[in-house]
């Protein structure tokens, strides 16, 4: 056997091995979708049948029309979109100030940002709950949106992108008479599209998947977002596994669809978030 043939075979074997691992990664999702189309008695059948023996089309309509899922969807969409728009505006502007402008006190202000980055949300759950209670923010969307908009991490992220832009470009714009606002909107922002996409994907997936914040600050029935909503739904259904799996599929679908269409950006964004530290 020549060596070319040998490497080809080796690659084939390794592809199969990695393929098995990758299948293990997505098996729960496949199983979830499959179970969501099954009758209750078929969910636990063994050997596992991925294509249901009898397809039950009623699970999704039941979940959608007989529970509060439409409400959870609406709430998640409101919270996520307002947070995204807000943080896009506020963290990019602040990042521009930190990255490109000189002003007194900049280092001290930035130190506050860095310090808050050190403290995970889990540590401040409780004081934030009391404090938000005093501000009458608990059980309003503001309790989720405002801390999401004012994000030290997002500011830090965008600052890194802005710092990478050559100074010649902004200086040229300023020689042409552009003020800082025009420089920001017409020179800096168009040059950091990939940074903006990263910011968008990060904020979207965090806000959409966030569980602990809605659980504590915003758990009134009419304001539930998908994660806590799904938990309520599961508690109400207890052992109706097919329905629960249909609910999970509905809750996961938006982000997974977004991921499949933008996987390259998604993966690069998350990979670079790890390298940076």
């Amino acid at each position: 056997m020549n060596s070319k043939c040998k490497t080809f075979l080796l690659r084939l074997v390794i592809t199969a091995l990695v393929g098995i691992f990758a299948l293990l990664c997505i098996f729960p999702f496949i199983w979830m979708v499959s179970a969501s189309f099954k009758n209750e008695i078929d969910v636990m059948e063994f050997p596992i049948r991925i294509i249901p023996k009898v397809v039950n089309w009623n699970n999704y309509p039941t979940v959608w029309f007989k529970s509060d899922f439409p409400l959870y969807y609406k709430n998640s969409l409101i919270v996520t979109s307002v947070t995204l728009i807000g943080t896009m505006i506020l963290s990019t502007t602040a990042a521009y100030g930190f990255a490109r402008l000189k002003f007194r006190g900049k280092n001290i202000i930035f130190a506050v940002y860095l310090a808050t980055l050190m403290v995970p949300v889990q540590v401040v759950l409780l004081p934030k709950y009391i404090y938000f209670g005093q501000l009458h923010l608990n059980n309003t969307f503001y309790a989720l949106i405002l801390p999401g908009i004012f994000s030290a991490f997002n500011t830090f992220l965008m600052r890194q992108y802005f710092e990478g832009i050559p100074y010649e470009l902004t200086e040229a714009a300023q020689l042409d008479g552009a003020n800082h606002f025009r420089t920001f909107f017409q020179v800096i922002l168009p040059l950091t599209k990939s940074g903006l996409v990263t910011l968008l994907l990060f904020s979207f997936s965090w806000t959409w998947n966030d569980y602990i914040n809605p659980l504590i600050y915003c758990n009134k029935e009419s304001l539930l977002t998908l994660t806590v909503g799904l938990q309520r739904f599961q508690q109400a259904q207890s052992t109706h596994y097919a329905l629960i799996m249909a609910g999970c599929t509905l809750a996961l679908a938006p982000l997974i669809i977004l991921f499949l269409f933008t996987q390259k950006y998604f993966i690069e964004s998350f990979a670079s978030s790890g390298v940076k530290g």
Partner: protein, 310 residues
Amino acid sequence: MKEKTNGIKIITARKKLTKRELREERAGYLFVIPNFIGILIFVALPILLSLLLGFTKWNPMQGLQGIEFVGMDNFTDMFSDERLKAALINNLVYTGLYVPISICIAMVMAALLNRFVFFKIPLRLMCFMPYISAMVSVAYIWLILLNPEGGPINSILSALGMSNLPGWFTSSASALGGIIIMSIWHDVGYYMIIFLSTMQGISSEIYESAKVDGAGGIQSFFKITVPMMGPNIFFVSILATMNSFKVFDQINVLTEGGPGYSTNVLVYCIYHYAFKEHNIGYASAVAVLLFAIIFVISMFQVKLKDKVTV
């Protein structure tokens, strides 16, 4: 030294700010202040409060008058707290298994994906899919997969001839194990793509010349890839360790710390004391302990970073 020159710069700047510099400064404040005010109110202030509350006893029913400073009492109470002790042990077990297993799987898979496979892009996509999914949703999938009564995983195990099947989330012997397996499944793709993106920076010439010298794939993994990835492996291990101390979602959804104290972890402890027992001062003190642990880990990272990267 650096700060000194900065200081001098600021002083000279104060002496004579040109019109242009003044404009720049004004713009700087306009750009930064709106965000900074929000950060102060919604992020920084609660952090300061969290440190203070740890030293109080507070029954929230009495409003703000009910706050009473008790010094270190909350912290001395910790020594006789069985729930907290269980949480610390569980967190250590969780970290001790979750971190090395995730890192090893992620490293091996990244190395294989990097150089030896067909269909690299779709395989990478599949491995990363669990990480972007909400923990709550996937927790319910696993709850059914690991159901001790006829769930698919136990059915497979019993078909493989295993008797004495684990009760997973219903038994205190295996609940933490179930949580760890699920968490590794959820996160390993993330660590893998971090490794992968660093590995792509290692030039293929090094591997070629190692091959010429007769090194096989496994040998070049241990002799080239692992040493060159050293700083990155270290960084990801720290990241994974910090993540493992923040674990909460899956525990609150699946086991609520039980059965018994078997899956009780630090963040769940905070949640339990604060929102189930309304013991606000003590819960804050546990939060301070959690912060101290995370702080020590991140200091460890800062201190060792220079040593490892050189």
